[in-house]
C-alpha cells in the first residue's frame, strides 16, 4: 500500500481537495436540480389547475344547457300532448343487419 501511494502522481492533500471539490459541485448541482424540480412542479401543477378550471367552465355550460332544455315549456312552443297513446310490441331485430 505504501508503495502504491508513494508512486501516485499527486499528494493526499490534492486527493482530499479534489474530493471536497467534487462534493461541493455535487451539492450545488443537487440544489439546482431540487429548485428546478420545484419550479417545474409548481408550473405543471398550476397548468393542470388552469385546465381543470377551464373544464369546470365547460361543465357549467353543459349543466346550464341541461337546465334550459329541462325547463323548456313545449306547450308554449306550440307542441301539444298526444290525444291518445298506443303501446305496441317492439319489432324484433337481428344481431346482424
Amino acid at each position: 500500500m505504501y508503495n502504491l501511494f508513494s508512486r501516485l502522481p499527486f499528494s493526499f492533500l490534492s486527493l482530499v481537495c479534489a474530493a471536497a471539490g467534487i462534493l461541493f459541485v455535487a451539492y450545488i448541482g443537487l440544489i439546482a436540480v431540487v429548485m428546478s424540480y420545484a419550479a417545474l412542479t409548481v408550473e405543471f401543477s398550476q397548468s393542470a389547475r388552469n385546465d381543470e378550471a377551464a373544464v369546470a367552465v365547460l361543465e357549467s355550460q353543459y349543466l346550464a344547457n341541461v337546465a334550459r332544455i329541462t325547463g323548456t315549456d313545449y306547450a308554449a312552443d306550440g307542441y301539444v300532448k298526444p290525444v291518445s297513446t298506443l303501446y305496441v310490441r317492439a319489432q324484433s331485430v337481428t344481431a346482424l343487419r
Binding site: 474530493a19 420545484a38 388552469n50 373544464v55 369546470a56 361543465e59 349543466l63 337546465a67
Partner: protein, 587 residues
C-alpha cells in the same frame, strides 16, 4: 511508515465525514428548520403573497353512462393587492385595476383612502380576476400593485343539489372548511394539507419515514364520486320548482333512489340557493331539510303498517274488517278521509281507498309491542346516509300505553320522521322486505389514482318477501285504479304508489283544519324496481289532498325515468295487433 499511512487515512476519513456532516447539517437547516420560510419564498415567486393557495378535492356527479361531471371544483384566477408604501400613482393604479377587475365593487374614493394607509404594505383590493385580465394587469408592472394567483371553490351546477353538496366557508375557525352537506361530511377526504409541492425525500426521511413508504394522506385524501345523476337531478328540481310555485307551498322536496343499492340518484328541495353566491342567503336555508327536518307524512305510512301486519302473520291479504267510517279511541275520534263507512271490506281496500279506520284496525291486530318493534326498526336508528346533522324520528307516542298513539301512527299521524328515513323504510317494500343504506357518495377517487368503492352493503331485513310483495300489489292497484280515476295507469309498466295527506301541527298543540302536508311515494317496475321516488310539498294553498298536487309531478318523473333509462316494459305488452293489458308479466 504504516503508522504514517494509517494517520493519513484517518485524516482523509475525518475530512470526508466532516464534509458529509456539514452537508447533512446544511440540508437539515434548509429543508427542515427553515423549510416553511423557503416554501413561502417559492410561493411568492410563483403564486401569491398571502400564503398557501386554497386547495380542495372535487365532488362529481355521475351521468348514467358513467361520465363524471364536476359538482364542486376549483376555479383559478388572480387577486390584486396594493402596497401603499410603494404605490406611486393611485389614480393610474385604480384605473388599471378597475379595467382588469370590472366586477370589483371598490369605489374610487375607497381605493384612494386605502392607498393612503402608508403604514401598511399589503392590502387586497380585488379578487377573482379572470386569467387573461390578471396576466394583462401583471404585465403592466405598476409600482405598488401586485397580482397574485388565487383559487376558490366553484360549483358548476350553481343551484344543482345545493343542500346536498354543501358549502365551504371559514365557519368559526380561520381556515376554509366544509360546513354543510358532503363538503362537511367528507371534510377529511376533501381537505388538502397543501404542502405536497414542497415534499422531498430528505425532509421526510427526518420527519416521517413511515409516510415516505406508505402515505396516510394519500390513502385518505381524494375526490368524491356521487351517485347523483345530473340530468335526473335537474329534472327533479325543475318539477319541484313548478310544483311549489303552482301551489304556493312553503317548501317542496323529493328523493329518487335505487331501492336495491340505496344509491340516491337525485335529492332536492325547493327553494334552493346558488352555492356560488352566498352573500344574500339566510343561513337557515343552508340546512338540508331532507335529513334534518321531521314531518308527519300521513297515509304513505299505511303500506308500512300493512306489510308489518302481513309479515307478523296477524292478517292476510284476504282478511276482512268492518269499516264504520269513524271510531273513538281514548276519547279521540278518528275518521276516514271522507268520514264514510265502507262496511266489510278486504285489506286491499285499506291501501287502495286509503282508509284510516282500516289502518288503525290493522295496528290493533299487531298489538302495541309488535307495532312498536316494527316502527323502531324503520325509524328508531339512523339511516346511515352520508350527510351531516341527521335528525332523530319523533316516536314518543309509541312509548305510551294509549292506543290512540298506535292507531294514528298506523296512518302516519303522531309520529314524525325525516324524508330520508321515510324513503329508506318504504324502500324495503320495493326490495323484498330489506332496508338498505341510502347514500350519496359511491366512491372516493384517491390522489394515488385508485378509486375506492365505499361499502354500503349493510342490509336490514324487516318484512318477508311475501309481505312486501302483497303490499306492493295493493300499491299497484292504487295507480291502476285510483290515480286520476285510473287514467294514469301505464299499460306496459307496473307502478306502485301511495299518496299521503297529513294535517299540519299547530304551534299550540293539535292540528290545523285547513293546512296540509302532502306526500307521495312510488316505485317501478313494481316487482323489480329500478327507482323509488318520495315527494312532498309543505302547506300547499287551495288544495286538500296529495293526489291533487303530486300526481302529475310523480307521473312526469316516472315517464321521464322510463324514457331516460330506457326501462323495459314489465307487463301488458300487447299481442300482435292487440291492445295493451294491465297484468304484470313478472312474478
Amino acid at each position: 511508515m504504516r503508522a504514517q499511512f494509517r494517520s493519513r487515512v484517518r485524516l482523509i476519513l475525518a475530512f470526508l465525514i466532516f464534509i458529509a456532516f456539514s452537508i447533512v447539517v446544511r440540508l437539515y437547516f434548509i429543508q427542515i428548520v427553515h423549510g416553511e420560510e423557503y416554501a413561502l419564498k417559492a410561493d411568492k415567486q410563483f403564486t401569491s403573497g398571502g400564503g398557501k393557495l386554497f386547495d380542495r378535492g372535487s365532488i362529481y356527479f355521475t351521468r348514467k353512462d358513467g361520465t363524471l361531471i364536476s359538482a364542486a371544483t376549483l376555479a383559478t384566477g388572480f387577486l390584486v393587492a396594493i402596497n401603499p408604501q410603494t404605490l406611486g400613482d393611485p389614480e393610474a393604479a385604480y384605473a388599471a385595476i378597475t379595467t382588469a377587475a370590472s366586477s370589483t365593487s371598490l369605489s374610487r374614493e375607497a381605493f384612494i383612502a386605502t392607498a393612503a394607509k402608508k403604514n401598511q404594505v399589503y392590502i387586497e383590493v380585488a379578487h377573482r380576476l379572470p386569467e387573461e385580465n390578471g396576466l394583462a394587469l401583471s404585465k403592466q408592472n405598476i409600482l405598488g400593485v401586485e397580482v397574485f394567483r388565487e383559487r376558490w371553490r366553484f360549483y358548476p351546477g350553481r343551484t344543482l343539489a345545493a343542500q346536498t353538496i354543501g358549502i365551504v366557508s371559514y365557519g368559526s375557525g380561520d381556515t376554509l372548511a366544509g360546513q354543510t352537506g358532503l363538503e362537511a361530511a367528507y371534510e377529511s377526504t376533501l381537505a388538502r394539507s397543501g404542502d405536497s409541492l414542497y415534499r422531498n425525500f430528505f425532509a421526510e426521511l427526518f420527519s416521517n419515514v413511515g409516510d415516505l413508504l406508505v402515505s396516510a394522506r394519500d390513502a385518505r385524501e381524494g375526490d368524491l364520486v356521487t351517485t347523483i345523476e345530473p340530468e335526473v337531478q335537474t329534472r327533479l328540481e325543475n318539477e319541484l320548482a313548478e310544483l311549489n310555485q303552482r301551489y304556493g307551498s312553503k317548501e317542496s322536496g323529493g328523493i329518487i333512489m335505487n331501492p336495491v343499492t340505496g344509491a340516491l340518484v337525485a335529492i332536492a328541495r325547493y327553494p334552493s340557493y346558488d352555492v356560488n353566491n352566498l352573500q344574500s342567503i339566510d343561513p337557515v336555508e343552508l340546512a338540508n331539510p331532507l335529513v334534518e327536518h321531521v314531518h308527519e307524512f300521513g297515509s304513505i305510512m299505511k303500506p308500512l303498517t300493512m306489510a308489518s301486519a302481513l309479515d307478523a302473520g296477524v292478517i292476510t291479504p284476504e282478511t276482512t274488517y268492518n269499516d264504520t267510517g269513524c271510531i273513538t279511541v281514548n276519547e279521540e275520534k278518528i275518521c276516514n278521509w271522507d268520514a264514510k263507512a265502507r262496511g266489510v271490506i278486504p285489506m286491499r281496500e285499506v291501501i287502495v281507498q286509503s282508509l284510516n279506520i282500516g289502518a288503525s284496525w290493522v295496528a290493533r291486530q299487531l298489538g302495541q309491542d309488535q307495532f312498536r318493534s316494527y316502527f323502531m326498526k324503520f325509524f328508531g336508528v339512523k339511516t346511515g346516509i352520508d350527510l351531516p346533522n341527521q335528525s332523530a324520528a319523533l316516536l314518543s307516542n309509541l312509548s305510551k300505553p294509549q292506543q290512540i298513539g298506535y292507531d294514528t301512527a298506523a296512518f302516519g299521524h303522531g309520529v314524525a320522521v325525516t324524508p330520508v328515513q321515510m324513503l329508506r323504510a318504504l324502500g324495503a317494500l320495493a326490495n323484498g322486505g330489506v332496508m338498505v343504506e341510502p347514500h350519496v357518495v359511491g366512491a372516493v377517487r384517491l390522489n394515488s389514482g385508485i378509486e375506492r368503492e365505499l361499502d354500503w352493503s349493510e342490509r336490514t331485513p324487516v318484512f318477508s318477501p311475501e309481505a312486501a310483495r302483497a303490499t306492493t300489489g295493493m300499491m299497484v292497484a292504487v295507480v291502476d285504479e285510483k290515480l286520476g280515476g285510473g287514467k294514469l295507469k301505464i299499460p306496459t309498466m307496473s307502478v306502485a304508489a301511495k299518496t299521503g295527506t297529513a294535517q299540519l301541527t299547530a304551534p299550540g298543540g293539535g292540528y290545523y283544519s285547513d293546512r296540509y302536508f302532502h306526500s307521495f311515494t312510488g316505485f317501478f317496475p313494481a316487482y323489480h324496481p329500478r327507482f323509488i321516488i318520495l315527494l312532498y310539498t309543505n302547506d300547499p294553498q287551495g288544495v286538500t289532498y296529495a293526489s291533487e298536487t303530486l300526481n302529475a309531478t310523480f307521473m312526469d318523473l316516472v315517464h321521464f325515468l322510463i324514457d331516460y333509462y330506457a326501462v323495459p316494459p314489465d307487463r301488458g305488452l300487447p299481442a300482435e295487433g292487440g291492445s295493451a293489458s294491465g297484468e304484470p308479466t313478472t312474478p
